[in-house]
Symmetry: C2
Subunit: 205 residues, 2 copies
């Protein structure tokens, strides 16, 4: 009986901590996305979740670790979604389109989180910084491989500079989080198809 109560007590306490932590994460993502990491103070975050500044440190270890956790979960979602998109299709063009759909779906789901992951990682130092840079390179590698594969299979043009083609695609996708927020009349899938059309067909008539 006392065993059972104690267990329930522990479960409830850990659930409360989890939801506090989640609230801190959500508020921090909104603030980092709007003002940027260096201009957001721990006092800003505390007042957004209704705590006093010092109390934040019950749930997190440091401001930078908070950023690292947010960036890492954001990037990991991209990697998972990308791999699923690649595996779901066989031909380079279909995979390319699926990648863009996955990208836009993630932005529609949580545009602020994506923006923090894309822009605020620059303020990380040490191991978490190199981790992020490695994962970004891995992400770009997915497009490099895909485009090289498409050229090899004759689906993509061999008259283009493949490195520049990759950078064009990545630039386009990175920019989407600045103007697409998931609201508005167009769905993520609509926008993804339009972007894929532009990148695959080009502007010329």
């Amino acid at each position: 009986m006392s065993d059972r109560r104690a267990t329930i007590g522990v479960v409830e306490e850990s659930t409360a901590k989890r939801s506090s932590r989640d609230a801190i994460f959500a508020a921090t993502i909104a603030l980092f996305s709007e003002r940027g990491y260096p201009s957001t103070s721990m006092r800003d975050i505390a007042s957004a979740v209704g705590l006093l500044p010092g109390s934040l440190y019950v749930h997190i270890s440091s401001k930078e670790q908070l950023l690292a956790d947010i960036v890492e979960t954001g990037i990991d979602r991209f990697m998972v979604a990308c791999r699923e998109a690649i595996e779901a299709e066989k031909t380079p063009a279909a995979r390319f389109r699926a990648l863009i759909h996955a990208h836009m779906a993630l932005i529609a789901e949580d545009p602020e989180h994506v923006r923090v992951a894309l822009h605020q990682w620059k303020y990380l130092t040490g191991a978490s910084r190199t981790d992020v840079m490695d994962k970004r390179r891995e992400y770009e590698g997915i497009f490099q491989t895909l485009i090289a594969d498409g050229i090899a299979k004759g689906e993509f043009s061999d008259k283009l500079n493949p490195r520049i083609a990759v950078l064009t695609v990545i630039g386009t996708l990175n920019w989407t989080s600045e103007w697409f927020h998931g609201d508005g009349p167009e769905t993520a899938d609509d926008v993804a198809d339009d972007i894929a059309d532009v990148l695959l067909s080009g502007l010329s008539a």
Copy 2:
């Protein structure tokens, strides 16, 4: 004689002030581009130019005004270069290519200044902030008009979403300042032609 000396004195003093101001601008651009506006302190800037922190205020009025001046001159260079590119060519496709060449030439000339103008304007407040936002809209309007014109003249495809086409081009160009620095084997003109090829022809074979 005393008149003449006094005049020379004034000229020399103002020249010295100008070069101090220029040194402050150059050092600030490097720092803002590397660490961002909020994480750069006036003490960082002062020590980069060999002054004590308080002495900076002989040459500038505030940290934010310093940012505003840097961003404004950066954007103005873009507007001037864009207008020249548009006027130099007649057909939409040629104008499009000329715009990309102008863009890459500016980055090659001063990549750090471009990066500050593109990213750090977010930390401006009040009138300078709305000024910048207006100019950015004007800049995007150049591409909107150009693409609409190209479609109307049958040079660009009427099967694409023109708004998405504009955002694809702008995303691609904004991203160039992250990877092109004017060094390396490829010239700004080489890269500009490759980018124009990708955007005009598309990836598909």
